[in-house]
């Protein structure tokens, strides 16, 4: 594992840049715990100050230091992505490995559900959730909802690998060695899907953070947990661009673009590492 990472850093420039960005972001997360101001407090600094030596990224119209808002926002946004990725990975592994190995009716039922979740448009559903939950919509709730929506595509990928693993002769060797199904799935098949799991983690984070940002910008999430999207939401509601407070918008938008490029570079280099063959051609049954 360590040597893989080392080789990737050394010989894959995309991976190296992606990793560097990720490390910077983790640095920001650590830094956020040293914020001199509580995240939700307003009018702690003079409002509408442009970036200078004291306020590196200026201050907002709400009297908050943009830099510290950004650090705390990054923490919450990243935490959100990791949470969704973790939960949805578990779901997709369980469904994908089981469907692929068991085949037959189990597979058909699981995949029918899987495909339905895959094509259902998520945004209206999320808006509906917000519409009925209103103030009950909090950070954890959104993690759970997005996890429940975000596993199907990857479950199908994992299933296609599991299906080919099932027909590999070594699976029969394991069966006739008296291994149980659980042992075969966890010890024999799981190592083959782990690279895919890592690569899809990045894609999943790109997706879930994107959704979260969109929802927060629209004000459809918990307004009390500052995230990247939240910053843009407040900036918009104070017409920051029109009143020339450009740094209030530029800081989160810039951070988001860097975050996404970093995640994407990681996912791309991992995909390349696993297998240059396409993922799509494994999906068409």
């Amino acid at each position: 594992m360590f040597t893989i990472v080392r080789d990737l850093i050394r010989y894959n420039i995309e991976f190296a840049i992606g990793l560097l960005i990720l490390l910077l972001l983790i640095g920001a997360v650590v830094l956020s715990f040293f914020s001199p101001y509580p995240a939700a407090d307003i009018y702690v600094v003079p409002p509408d100050m442009p970036p200078d030596a004291e306020f590196w990224l200026g201050t907002t119209s709400r009297g908050q230091d943009t830099f510290w808002q950004l650090m705390i926002g990054l923490r919450n946004t990243l935490g959100f992505g990791v949470g969704v990725a973790f939960l949805s990975r578990i779901l997709s592994l369980v469904v994908g490995l089981t469907a692929g190995y068991a085949g037959g009716r189990t597979d058909r039922v699981l995949m029918a559900i899987n495909d339905s979740i895959m094509v259902i448009p998520q945004f209206p559903i999320l808006v509906l959730f917000y519409f009925v939950l209103k103030d009950n919509m909090n950070w954890l709730m959104l993690v759970l909802i997005l996890s429940a929506l975000g596993w199907s595509y990857d479950a199908r990928l994992i299933r296609s690998i599991a299906m080919s693993l099932r027909t590999r002769p070594f699976t029969m060797q394991s069966v006739y060695s008296g291994m149980s199904m659980r042992k075969i799935l966890v010890e024999e098949h799981l190592p083959y899907v782990m690279p895919i799991v890592f690569a899809t983690t990045m894609n999943n984070m790109i997706w879930s953070i994107g959704m979260e940002i969109t929802l927060s910008v629209l004000g459809f999430t918990d307004v009390d947990t500052p995230t990247m999207g939240q910053m843009i939401y407040w900036a918009n509601s104070h017409s920051a661009l029109i009143s020339g407070i450009w740094w209030w918008v530029a800081a989160p938008v810039g951070a988001i673009v860097i975050l996404f490029v970093g995640l994407f570079l990681l996912s791309m280099s991992m995909n390349e590492y696993i297998d240059p063959r396409s993922r799509l051609n494994r999906m068409g049954n």
Binding site: D7, L8, R10, Y11
Partner: protein, 342 residues
């Protein structure tokens, strides 16, 4: 002795259609900083006469597929030619494969030099009817108008006992044998002078295999083409090839006319290959070789067969035995046979 050999194989007298000299082709992989050379074709020289069927035999990963890929100029990275030459002689004109530009190569393909791939599912484009393949492959090379072209194609198919109706089929609608026969028809429709066949019957059932081999022999008789015929199966070689070269770990270790090779092979590896063939009607015990074929990335020094060789001597692990002529049309690379002079 020389006259006798000539008498048995008059083809040898005519000038060679293919001359391969000191050909070397390696796979160079640079995955994550580790450079590896896999010497798939290592210093191979051979000539093939007009109208001859030359068989190349060897086990899996002996480099025989790389050899023919290099000969027909179908190499892609990471495989690349390190040295040597491949020279064809078509209609009195010499074509050195690795001196030709892509356009020139294009013009000799199919017209003069064609190729039959392994009898796998995937040789014909799965989403188009077979007639489109015939058109794509042959129309430009034949220089005929459409009507005459299709007449020619149909006539060719009929001559090979194939229903011209196959033209309107998709590949998946044909059985494995039919698909392979169609591929062979496609490869021979331009009456090429040189045909390379790579394991053309490997995936086929025995009865179908017999038909396909008969078809290939008939084509060779009708067209007078030369064949480079590659398979691991010695009994197929016995049936088809005029002359056989045995490849072991990227090197040619013995070469002789087929009867000579089966009756009087001299290289211990060839001897073993011939002796281990089981036959119906003969249940005497067949011995097997110990050890394993060497890795081409890290082959043993000297003769690559020496770790498994019953006749291995000191020198075998130190020097590479040259491929010496033992008799006319019989070359062997073995110190135990040709003596330890280098």
């Amino acid at each position: 002795m020389q006259t006798e050999a000539l008498l048995h194989t008059p083809k040898a007298a005519s000038e060679p259609i293919l001359a391969v000299e000191n050909l070397k082709a390696y796979y160079t992989t640079k995955a994550f900083g580790i450079d590896r050379d896999i010497r798939a074709v290592d210093d191979i020289s051979l000539t093939i006469a007009k109208g001859e069927i030359y068989g190349v035999a060897g086990e899996s990963s002996s480099g025989k597929t790389s050899l023919i890929k290099t000969i027909v100029g179908a190499i892609r990275p990471p495989l690349h030619v390190v040295g040597g030459s491949v020279c064809f002689n078509f209609e009195g004109q010499a074509y050195n494969i690795y001196d030709l530009g892509p356009d020139e190569l294009q013009t000799i393909r199919w017209r003069h030099l064609s190729y039959i791939m392994q009898g796998s599912m995937n040789v014909l484009n799965p989403v188009r009817r077979i007639k489109h393949s015939f058109f794509d492959f042959a129309f430009a090379h034949m220089g005929l108008d459409r009507a005459t072209f299709w007449d020619k194609v149909r006539e060719h198919l009929r001559r090979l006992d194939l229903d011209p109706g196959v033209l309107d089929s998709y590949p998946h609608q044909l059985s494995g044998g039919m698909r392979q026969r169609t591929t062979i028809a496609l490869a021979t429709v331009c009456t090429p002078e040189f045909i390379v066949a790579d394991e053309p019957t490997t995936a086929l059932d025995v009865i179908v295999q017999r038909d396909v081999l008969t078809m290939l022999r008939d084509i060779q008789r009708d067209l007078g083409s030369s064949f480079l015929f590659v398979t691991h199966d010695m009994s197929v070689h016995a049936t088809v090839s005029d002359r056989i070269g045995i490849v072991y770990a990227g090197r040619l270790v013995e070469e002789a006319d087929t009867p000579t090779l089966f009756r009087g092979a001299r290289h211990p590896y060839t001897q073993h290959l011939v002796a281990s063939l089981p036959k119906i009607g003969d249940a005497t015990r067949r011995a097997s070789l110990s050890g394993r074929p060497p890795s081409l990335a890290d082959p043993p020094a000297g003769c690559r067969f020496h770790p498994r060789c019953p006749l291995a001597m000191d020198i075998c692990s130190k020097q590479v035995p040259p491929l010496n002529p033992l008799a006319p049309r019989h070359r062997v690379a073995c110190f135990a046979v040709s003596g330890a002079t280098s």
